[in-house]
């Protein structure tokens, strides 16, 4: 696969990890946070931790739009779909996320019309193909995905498709990063920046991280060589006592961002004054809602929504894991009450949630290493 396989070249990966070892000061313990859940997933999928020296610690950030969605919002979306002749359409990522009465898939088993879509435009097409039903698209995602939802709404309005609405849960990345840096228990040395969000917002929005917080940022792609090169970049900056924004993902990320995408978003969305993030609490100006001009396609305006706040069980430490304060296995419920099979929190359901990633890919490796070490 072009533009994929080159960045998985084993020889170059080995070389790059040797360079990382050369650059990492053995007297220092580095804490590098990858913000985006997609990077978390890639790190586990490609086994990149195996290639890093032990004094480089990768901290998983809160950039998982499924993980940060409060349970109440899932309940709200499902309650709309309870109405007769409503089709609940969402990405596969949402299908197993538990609401208080079960996940969308469980609702499907009980008779709700639930469809998996790959694209918001597929949800719109579903509406066109089912004129006597209403299709409600449960939208999630950071700025990577929001423009596609925006364009879809633009098209729905332009084509006068009225049996379609969006339940909007889009969130923005910068407030999440700010919440991490403002957190007193956090010490992060550098960031691996979210590559695909940056194709939309560009690299400028991160400049305050370097200027005000004095932390290097490398905006990174998602292949093994991208992530490893980003680590090389931030290590070099840390060694030279610098703090800049670097664009590692140049082949795809424009420094100024994507104006057409930003325009579409501005046309359709506005910032909510505040929004609740699971684990991080209420953050102001951190989420999008649909503008009045598109009210007819806003599921929250067309339908009655219970809007009940559902708090996570006290024992679940989703918040601390989201912020990177705790590692997944340090949560008291990890692997016991909370597993991918019966997840308590969304970090265990979402394939890019650090708990699920850790459980599925890692924790038996740790046990294996431990058992070998104890035998040696």
């Amino acid at each position: 696969m072009k533009f994929v396989d080159e960045f998985r070249d084993p020889e170059v990966i080995t070389k790059t990890s040797e360079e990382i070892r050369r650059l990492a000061d053995t007297n220092r313990h580095y804490r590098i946070m990858e913000v985006c859940g997609g990077h978390t997933h890639a790190i586990y999928r490609f086994g990149l931790k195996d290639l890093l020296p032990s004094n480089i610690e990768l901290i998983h950030g809160p950039g998982c739009p499924v993980c940060v969605l409060p349970m109440g919002r899932i309940d709200d979306g499902l309650s709309i779909a309870q109405q007769p002749d409503v089709i609940f359409a969402a990405f596969g990522d949402m299908m197993r996320v538990p609401g208080t009465q079960g996940s969308p898939l469980e609702h499907k088993a009980r008779g709700m019309d639930v469809r998996i879509v790959y694209s918001p435009s597929d949800a719109l097409k579903l509406a066109q193909m089912n004129p006597d039903k209403h299709v409600m698209f449960f939208a999630i995602g950071f700025e990577t995905t929001a423009p596609s939802t925006a364009l879809t709404l633009l098209r729905a309005k332009a084509q006068s498709i009225h049996n379609f609405s969006v339940f909007c849960n889009h969130v923005t990345i910068i407030p999440a990063i700010r919440a991490i840096l403002d957190s007193p228990d956090m010490r992060i040395d550098a960031f691996i920046g979210p590559g695909h969000v940056s194709t939309v917002i560009g690299c400028r929005p991160y400049e305050w991280i370097a200027k005000n917080e004095n932390k290097p940022v490398a905006v990174s792609g998602f292949e093994p060589l991208d992530i490893l090169q980003s680590i090389v970049m931030v290590l070099r900056q840390l060694k030279a006592d610098e703090a800049r924004i670097e664009n590692q993902y140049k082949r795809v990320v424009p420094w100024e961002g994507n104006h057409a995408a930003l325009r579409a978003m501005a046309d359709v969305f506005e910032l909510r004054p505040y929004f609740e993030w699971r684990g991080l609490g209420f953050i102001s100006q951190s989420a999008l809602r649909i503008r009045e001009s598109y009210a007819e396609w806003d599921a929250e305006q067309r339908f009655e929504v219970p809007g009940v706040r559902v708090t996570d069980p006290k024992a679940a430490q989703c918040g601390e894991v989201l912020k990177g304060v705790l590692k997944p296995h340090q949560c008291k419920l990890f692997g016991k009450e909370c597993t991918p099979e019966h997840p308590i929190g969304a970090l265990m359901v979402s394939s890019e949630g650090s708990c699920a990633a850790y459980f599925n890919y890692e924790h038996r490796k740790t046990a294996m290493v431990t058992s070998i070490a104890s035998v040696a």
Partner: protein, 355 residues
């Protein structure tokens, strides 16, 4: 003994079940962890005489010295017909393959059709014709069957159940408990063709690819393997629902050892890979209907692989890994550059993702 004295009339032994879930969910039929819990926790204690043997694809029974292999399976697939096959072929090949990987040659089958009222006759005819052709190709007699019709909306057009019997091959002892560290793992061909074909055929994702299901009888390949390496064949399985990852995890659990796979050794077609990358799926979790895994003692492994790759339809066979002490009960996949990950069986069916 007086009946009145007998305080407890002969009660049927009713062992407790270990299955704690309040109701059946879709995941229980997906072939992964939930399915295993249902079978091991509810069916096994109540139905199976010997609770200690690992559950296999088929049972080998002894009737006064005559050994017979028997298996049963049901087929529920949407759409009924897809590139490369249809439910009728899946039913025959699936049964033949279950017998094959248990080390038996399928001889005969009986079939039950559960049909939905309103099913158009041409549709039924096409499936029955496909079944007949597949049975002839596989050299299997269809000895009889049953039909039921249920109300419209109750059977997804049709469900097919088959029960197949076969003749165990000589000199073969398929048993997970005989697997040893150092044993090699062979795979007969590229993975993911069937599952991705079905996913695309459903039409919901608007993807097109030049792919078709790999449904076929694998018996000729199994026979070639057994002829070349019979004494060294420890275990076989056809990785259907849940994919290679699920089958190997079952093995790892049953033998208490670890499975180590080399990622670049696993054969996969470009289009399957592309679809998986696009949808965020792992090919190791995708269903196959014409492939099998075999664990072979190291001294027989080369002969085994050679025999497979020379047999018609086995050209893409590969050695994909080996058995190790660790990680005990788990499957580890390693890349060429040394990065590794554990791969588990899924809870339900693989779902596309965008994150």
């Amino acid at each position: 003994m007086n009946i009145a004295d007998d305080e407890s009339p002969v009660l049927e032994s009713s062992p407790p079940i270990r299955f704690r879930e309040p109701q059946i969910e879709m995941a229980h039929g997906a072939g992964g962890k939930a399915s295993r819990r249902l079978v091991e926790g509810l069916f096994a204690p109540l139905l199976f005489a010997s609770a200690s043997e690992p559950l296999g694809d088929a049972a080998h029974l002894d009737f006064n010295g005559t050994r017979i292999a028997i298996t049963t399976d049901s087929f529920v697939v949407k759409p009924l017909s897809f590139p490369g096959g249809s439910i009728g072929e899946l039913a025959v090949n699936g049964t033949v393959n279950d017998l094959a990987v248990s080390g038996a040659k399928a001889e005969a089958m009986v079939v039950t059709y559960v049909l939905e009222a309103g099913l158009p006759t041409p549709v039924l005819e096409a499936e029955v014709r496909a079944m007949g052709n597949a049975a002839r190709r596989a050299g299997v007699t269809i000895a009889g069957g049953d039909t039921k019709v249920v109300e419209h909306g109750k059977a997804d057009s049709m469900y097919i159940t088959t029960t197949g019997i076969g003749r165990p091959l000589h000199g073969l002892k398929i048993d997970a408990r005989s697997v040893r560290p150092g044993d090699k793992i062979l795979l007969s061909g590229p993975i993911g063709d069937h599952g991705i074909t079905i996913l695309l055929a459903r039409g919901e994702l608007d993807l097109e690819a030049d792919l078709h299901s790999d449904t076929r009888s694998i018996f000729p390949l199994v026979e070639a393997l057994v002829n070349a390496a019979g004494p060294g064949v420890r275990w076989m399985r056809d990785p259907t629902r849940g994919g290679v990852a699920t089958s190997l995890n079952e093995l790892a659990r049953d033998c208490g050892l670890g499975i180590a796979l080399g990622e670049e050794m696993i054969p996969i077609r470009d289009a399957v890979r592309g679809a998986c990358e696009l949808l965020g799926l792992d090919p190791l979790h995708i269903a196959n209907e014409g492939q099998f895994l075999a664990v072979v003692a190291p001294e027989y492994a080369d002969a085994a692989l050679n025999a497979l790759s020379l047999a018609p339809g086995g050209e893409d066979a590969q050695m994909i890994g080996e058995v190790r002490e660790q990680p005990s009960g788990a499957v580890l996949v390693t890349t060429r550059y040394g990065g590794s990950r554990i791969i588990d069986m899924l809870v339900g069916d693989p779902l596309p993702r965008i994150c």
